[in-house]
Each structure stands twice: as structure tokens, then as C-alpha cells.
Symmetry: C2
Subunit: 313 residues, 2 copies
């Protein structure tokens, strides 16, 4: 059923990594699928009603932040100090405006703060206490630590501390999972947007900043080409400027979305040892998922047609 003349679509991810069918209970898998499904439904409805891509990706990422299954917002992993430090970014492919925040401790929806940075701060990237000061001046509520607390993540911290490991949101010693959430969208007005949010790494130290708040690494959108959101071993995504590199292969190398995403994730990224994945939607509404890990939580819907939800390869 094609509701509009113009293409539109939404794609989301909830992290990539060693997500194996044999380690997943039926109940847990059902929870992931129903949450991914609900996010897509809400964002798709917004797009059908003529909403903008930037509103759609903000909404989708906020819903993923609010869901404790994913490592962003509520459900964020713990730092070495037993707290939370969250990062997020958002980009509008029409204006090339962008906003990002890093090392956020007490804001419910970091992606909402990233958007406020984009629209109201005169800057692109605010970090740490300064970013929170800006948030409170803009009327954001200060959440206490309890809001972000989940037993599951606390157990991960204790387990990581026992093994003295800095781990990316793993659920057991055999599982490596990059906990990030993200969304990309094309609206019926031809606008692209992307957003990404994360709680970072379990047992993280030293104010580490990953790729999520870095425009061009974790998030990029340009109406001429593509919108991209990434999840993976952030350091490698930064060094390869993954999101922007996919855009620039399409802009300067005449690659299509599949060629560009595949080359960057399977060649440029693996060459330096990076693993993870990306979601992307191009200006024609073509959606592509690319990852070099056993799985990536993901879902999409194009032109109001059937919803796709995937977890494994």
C-alpha cells in the first residue's frame, strides 16, 4: 500500500555485537522485537502525517532511550565510578545543522538535549557539566541516579570489575555487544535526518568519548546523499569517520548506499580492527543495514509498507 507519491522511511538500531540465537531466550527476543516494532510504528505514523525526519529520529531515539533493554537513557551502563555518562547526537540533512552532547549524567533523554544544543546554543557540541548547565537553563529536568539504575546493568558493572575489564555492554563473558541506539529517516518532504544515543561502556573511565556524539563518526545526514547512524567499537568508528565516509563515497565516489556502506563497514573499518554496524537511508528512501558482527538489533519501515525487525545476521 503506497500512501504517498514521495518516498519516506524510518530505520532504527539498538546496538550490534555478538548477539547469538542460542544465547537468547524466546521471551527476551520477544521483548526486543516488540519494542523495536513499537518504535517503528510511532515514527512511521509521524512520517505519514507529514512530520519531519528530524522529529521522527528524535522520537525514535527517545523511545529507545526510555526502554531499559537498550544501553541509552534508562538502561545505560555504569561507569567505573558507579554512575552514568551518556552521549548523543542529531543531524538535520537539509540544513546540515547538528547537535551533540557528551558525558551527560542526569538528563532523561540525551538526544533531546542534543537537539536543543543544535537549535538554541549557537554551538554543535557541549560536554560534561557545562552541557548540563545549558540543559537546566533550557528547562530540562534533573533526573536523579535512581532513574538510570537497572539491576541488569549494575550486575554487568560488578562482573566487569571482577574481571577488571572495560567492556562494551556485554551480557556475559562470551558476548560482546555495542550498546547504542540510533535512527535514520527520510520524510515526505525529501529531508533526511539521523540521531544516535548511548550510555557508553561498562566500567568506563577517564571521561572517554566514543563515536556517538561525534558528527561524521557516529551520526551524519545530508539530503544530497544519505543519513547514517552507527553502533560499534567507537574508537574505530572515529578513526574511520564511518558515517561521513559513507556519505562521501556516495557524493564523491558515485557509490550507491549499499556499495558505500559495505565498503566502509567491511573494508575500511575491519582493516583497522573495528567491529559494529550502521543503519542508513538514502534520498530515495532505500534503507540498508550493514554490520560485521553476528547480530544487530534493527527494524525499519518504508513507505508505510510492512515493518521489518531483525536481530541476527
Amino acid at each position: 500500500m503506497k500512501l504517498h507519491e514521495k518516498p519516506f522511511g524510518i530505520a532504527i538500531h539498538g546496538g550490534a555485537g555478538t548477539i547469538l540465537r542460542e544465547q537468547m531466550s524466546e521471551e527476551k527476543e520477544g521483548e526486543y522485537r516488540s519494542n523495536l516494532n513499537a518504535v517503528i510504528q510511532a515514527a512511521n505514523k509521524l512520517l505519514i502525517l507529514g512530520g519531519t525526519a528530524i522529529d521522527a529520529v528524535e522520537l525514535a531515539v527517545m523511545m529507545l532511550e526510555d526502554c531499559p533493554l537498550f544501553n541509552a537513557g534508562k538502561g545505560s551502563v555504569f561507569t567505573a565510578q558507579g554512575g552514568h555518562e551518556m552521549d548523543a547526537s542529531i543531524m538535520d540533512g537539509t540544513t546540515l545543522e547538528a547537535g551533540a552532547v557528551s558525558l551527560i549524567k542526569s538528563i532523561k533523554n540525551p538526544v533531546q538535549l542534543a537537539r536543543k544544543v543544535m537549535e538554541k546554543s549557537g554551538h554543535v557540541f557541549l560536554a560534561g557539566e557545562g552541557a548540563e548547565k545549558f540543559a537546566f537553563e533550557q528547562g530540562f529536568e534533573k533526573m536523579n541516579d535512581e532513574y538510570f539504575y537497572t539491576d541488569f546493568r549494575y550486575e554487568q558493572l560488578k562482573s566487569a570489575q571482577r574481571s577488571n575489564a572495560v567492556v562494551l555492554d556485554h551480557t556475559d563473558l562470551n558476548e560482546k555487544k555495542f550498546g547504542t541506539v540510533g535512527a535514520v529517516a527520510l520524510d515526505i518532504h525529501g529531508r533526511l535526518a539521523a540521531a544516535t544515543s548511548t550510555g557508553g561502556m561498562t566500567n568506563k573511565q577517564f571521561g572517554r568519548v566514543g563515536d556517538t556524539p561525534m558528527i561524521g563518526s557516529g551520526t551524519y545526514a545530508d539530503d544530497r546523499t544519505v543519513a547514517v547512524s552507527c553502533t560499534g567499537s567507537g574508537e574505530y568508528f572515529i578513526r574511520a569517520n564511518v558515517a561521513f565516509q559513507i556519505h562521501s563515497m556516495m557524493l564523491y565516489g558515485q557509490s550507491d548506499i549499499v556499495q558505500a556502506a559495505s565498503n566502509v563497514v567491511q573494508n575500511e573499518l575491519t582493516k583497522i580492527g573495528g567491529d559494529g554496524g550502521i543503519i542508513a537511508i538514502d534520498r530515495n528512501g532505500r534503507i540498508h543495514f550493514e554490520f560485521n558482527t553476528p547480530g544487530m538489533y534493527r527494524a525499519s519501515q518504508s513507505n508505510g509498507e510492512e515493518i521489518y525487525v531483525g536481530i541476527y545476521k
Copy 2:
């Protein structure tokens, strides 16, 4: 006089902006020129002796940080709180390894800390107190605020506070200058490297992070193409991923260093309202300066030949 079979070279900048001959005293101009000259001499000597590009850019940026004329290290501008928050990054074009720090308050040479992050932290980007904690664990000395104090910058803060402006290192109301320092180099082993450092914006608030510590925006190097260091209105350099975009036009668009730098600085950047400049050196040792401002403090030397020093367009 060609000392080596293999090409090598060094280029540096000390910021771009409204730098006008009519506003510059002969004495001041002489100081800038002699400092730029001394930095090039030292880095060139290192390269002639077979030193690596990464050592050359680190040395050059450290010398620029130590010189109070430039807005980085000693001579950094003041934040709204009357302190200093410095950013720096460095990248090795051979390994594509990179290091970056942001919101650093008490480290003499932020570029040195960025390199330590690259080599010892397991991460790429550390910010704020966490980054300083890492620094002290690595044996960096904690400098007190007095080290970074200069009358000139303090007057700039007072002037900015009177006009309630967040300004990028301006020296009077008619002058807009982006205070950043940077270096790019090619060594005789064919390795490229880039590094950038800044004291940020006078009267800066909210933990603002500019393009300087962002790999791909302010700094990028890849032996296949080019090494780039940027200076300018950081927010726009982030949105356009300026350094990486020059690299990707060369890698994917078959542009040469001049075409790529010119297109990115004069078209992609100005299109969204950004101003500033870049220095670049390609794998063949070709050096290029590109800026869309009236001036940029810059200098270079190729293959041990004559030193070039420039300030105005």
C-alpha cells in the same frame, strides 16, 4: 638543494581570521614571523634527521602551544569562568591511530596528552576531569592557572564580557580571529601526520567543544592521501567534517590536494556560513594553504628548501 631522494615537508598554522596588514604593527608582525620560522626550522631539522611525521607535528604544535602569541597552551584565551579549557588532537596517517583531548585545564602541552591518549589509553578521545586524571596517572605535571595567564588574553575576556560576546580570540572589535595552532608533515619514510591544538573561544560557556579535538573535523591524516589541520569557526568545520572531507575527495573523487581543499573550504564550508582555513600536505609532499578569511598565520618548508612564512592573503 635536495637533501633526500624522498619528499618530505612540514606546514604549520597559528590561526586564521580578519588579520589585516593595516592593523598590525611592524614589531608584532616580526614576532609572529620569527616564531613561525623557528617552529618550522625545528620540525624540518627533525625530518631531515629521519624523524617521523608524528614526532614532527607533535614538536611543532608543542612549540606553538608554548608561544604566548597563539591561542593554545600558554596564551590560551579565557572561558567565561575566567579559566582555560584547551582541546587538542593528533593523528598518524600510517596506522590511522588518533588521540584527542577536550576541556583540559592544567596540562602544559595538550597535544602531548592527545598523543599519550593515542598510545596508552586504549581510547581515542578523553575529555574533562577524566582526561586530566589519565594525564596525571601518565606522569604529566599539573600546571597552575598562573602558567596559562597572559594580560593580553585577560583583557580580551574583560572586553568580551563588557560586550557580552562569545568571541573567537578577537583582538579588537573589528577583528575576528580563530585561534588555533596546527601542523601537518610528511616524513622521508612516506608517513603523514597531523595535529591541532586550541584554547578555544574567549568567554566560552557550557563546555563547548569545537572542531580541534574531533578527528575528521579539525584533524585528519591518511598516508593514501593527505594530512590536514584546520582553524576556523569550529561548529561549521564539524558540520562539514572539513579535514576528512578533503581526504575523501582525494580518495574517492580523484581530486588533487588543491582541488579538494579549495572545494571544501570555498564551497562546502562557505555554503553553510563557515570561515577559516586549512593547511595540508599530500603523500608527494605537496603543501597547500587554503582559507576564506583575510589572513592565516602560516609557514612551511619542503624538502629542506627555503622556508615560507605568510600572514595575509
